[in-house]
Amino acid sequence: MTGGGASAPLLDVCGVTLQYKTRDHLVTATYRVDFHVCRADRFVLLGPSGCGKSTLLKAVGGYLAPVEGEIRLGGEPIRRPGPDRMMVFQEFDQLLPWKTVKQNVMFALTASRLLAGQAAAERARQYIDKVGLTRFADAYPHTLSGGMKQRVAIARAMAMEPAILLMDEPFAALDALTRRKMQEELLHLWDETRFTVLFVTHSIPEAVTVGSRILLLSPHPGQVKAELNSLPSGDVDSAARKTLEDRIHHMLFADQVEDERIPRG
């Protein structure tokens, strides 16, 4: 995961339209979305609920094929789910309840035939240490708190050392304090290993904290509204941050009545 040439994007999403069927509707989730993710990017997809950001992430994951356009990872079109694009989900039940923390991390390594035996155990231990769960390596998931479960999921995904890490609102189900701590930890991990991450969220502060680059999507169906640079990481409470958050809020909600917060900056 070293910094490659900035000219060749790692992930190339090109004119992607996504549709899915519900029981009696064909829903267009996104319409002709373009963006590039470069190596070591912390790329955030931000938008209100219903803008198709999760669907877009699933398409990058290979769970869903675009009806129009193409998604390429390192030049290769994406056709099916694979261990080069490890996904971290919002739900706590993404851990296998019948395996301990260590076995969960090892499961991904062995099931994908990336590593086996002692090498897998060693890699698992290394990443469990990284997320600070050394003491809980032999615990079963049901004994862990929500934040710890998400840490295990992050360790499992990172241990695979994927080309790109896909995170689908991984902290959305956590309480505010834990969420903040997890965001800091994620940035800390990024400082250590400089992985590439595609991160979906509907929270503007989270996008500004976690992201290095932010893609704003409009709702129903999702289309690109803007692609912004975020602040340098570690910038927590500055005026620049407030300005950026207000700017994003204004761009996302300019054309609709919003009572969630009063936007003016």
Binding site: P83, P97, S112
Partner: protein
């Protein structure tokens, strides 16, 4: 319309927590009785003893050993049956047939559910067949089985497979369908598909319902076997527990009839409490999938 009233203004208060030494009990272990009563096995044993006492008292009261022998007479007949080697032989015979039928039923159920998870037509097949055959009592197929396979083990196997197959297949299938989408996506993310996906994700994730299916299947197989043996009894010079019961009834050895039933109950209790309970403790309880 009344004006909604404001909350009543009260002064704030600050508590002064005292140190735990100031009051008597913070944590105290329960008394021996309380702990004993929290033990499920002990509570059940007490219930069983009460039932046995009630039986003994009732049987002595009506004093008709031909209809209702006492508990002690049953125990004695049971003991004699065991000492004489008749009861263990019959039990071993029944259990052997049972295990054969049970495993065959499970194997078929596994095949059918594997088809059902991999193709849509397989799902339709399983759903149609199980809604047709699940309500059909296995014993109702016995006359047909006798016609097709004659007296003997093949007929027994046929009715037992029928009684095991549907509950196991139905429970496994509904367990598979209840596996969360997230877990499925995790499995696919790790590059699993086909058989390895079923073995590594679906089966463990659906294990609570699979286990329920296995338990129901076991009970169905056991009762079907005893019933079938009662109907056509002995084959190739050897019979099982059902035949033992039937034979003793014909000879009016009523305590031995009760001893045979007692034996059926004991085996049921043992399998439930030793085998299935231990599997549960080591799997679904440990994984927090069942409390």
């Amino acid at each position: 319309m009344n004006q909604p009233s404001d909350p009543i203004a009260r002064p704030e208060r600050i508590g002064m927590p005292v140190s735990p030494d100031a009051f008597g009990v913070v944590e105290q272990s329960l008394t021996v009785w309380e702990r004993a009563w929290n033990n499920g096995a002990l509570r059940k044993t007490v219930l069983l003893i009460l039932l046995a006492v009630a039986w003994e008292v009732y049987a002595r009261a009506i004093n008709n050993p031909l209809l209702v022998p006492t508990f002690s007479a049953t125990l004695q007949a049971f003991w004699e049956g065991i000492a004489g080697g008749v009861l263990p032989g019959r039990t071993a015979y029944s259990v052997r047939v049972l295990i054969m039928g049970y495993s065959a039923g499970i194997a078929l159920a596994a095949l059918l559910t594997a088809c059902a998870v991999s193709t849509r037509i397989g799902t339709d097949l399983l759903e149609t067949l199980s809604s047709m055959f699940n309500p059909l009592p296995a014993i109702a197929l016995l006359p047909l089985a006798l016609l097709w396979f004659g007296l003997g083990n093949p007929s027994l196997m046929f009715v037992m497979v029928h009684s095991v197959l549907w509950p196991v297949a139905l429970n496994t299938h509904s367990g598979f369908r209840a596996v969360s989408n997230t877990l499925r996506m995790v499995g696919q993310n790790c590059g699993l598909s086909g058989a390895s996906f079923i073995v590594k994700i679906l089966i463990p994730a659906a294990f609570p319902s699979i286990l329920t299916g296995l338990k129901i299947g076991w009970a169905f197989a056991w009762r079907t076997l005893i019933a079938a043996e009662l109907v056509f009894g002995v084959s190739s010079g050897q019979g099982g527990l059902g035949w033992f019961i039937y034979e003793n009834k014909n000879q009016l050895e009523v305590p031995s009839v009760f001893a045979g039933l007692f034996c059926v109950i004991l085996i049921g209790l043992a399998v439930e409490n030793l085998v299935f309970r231990n599997i549960e403790l080591r799997t679904v309880r440990r994984w927090g999938m069942q409390t």
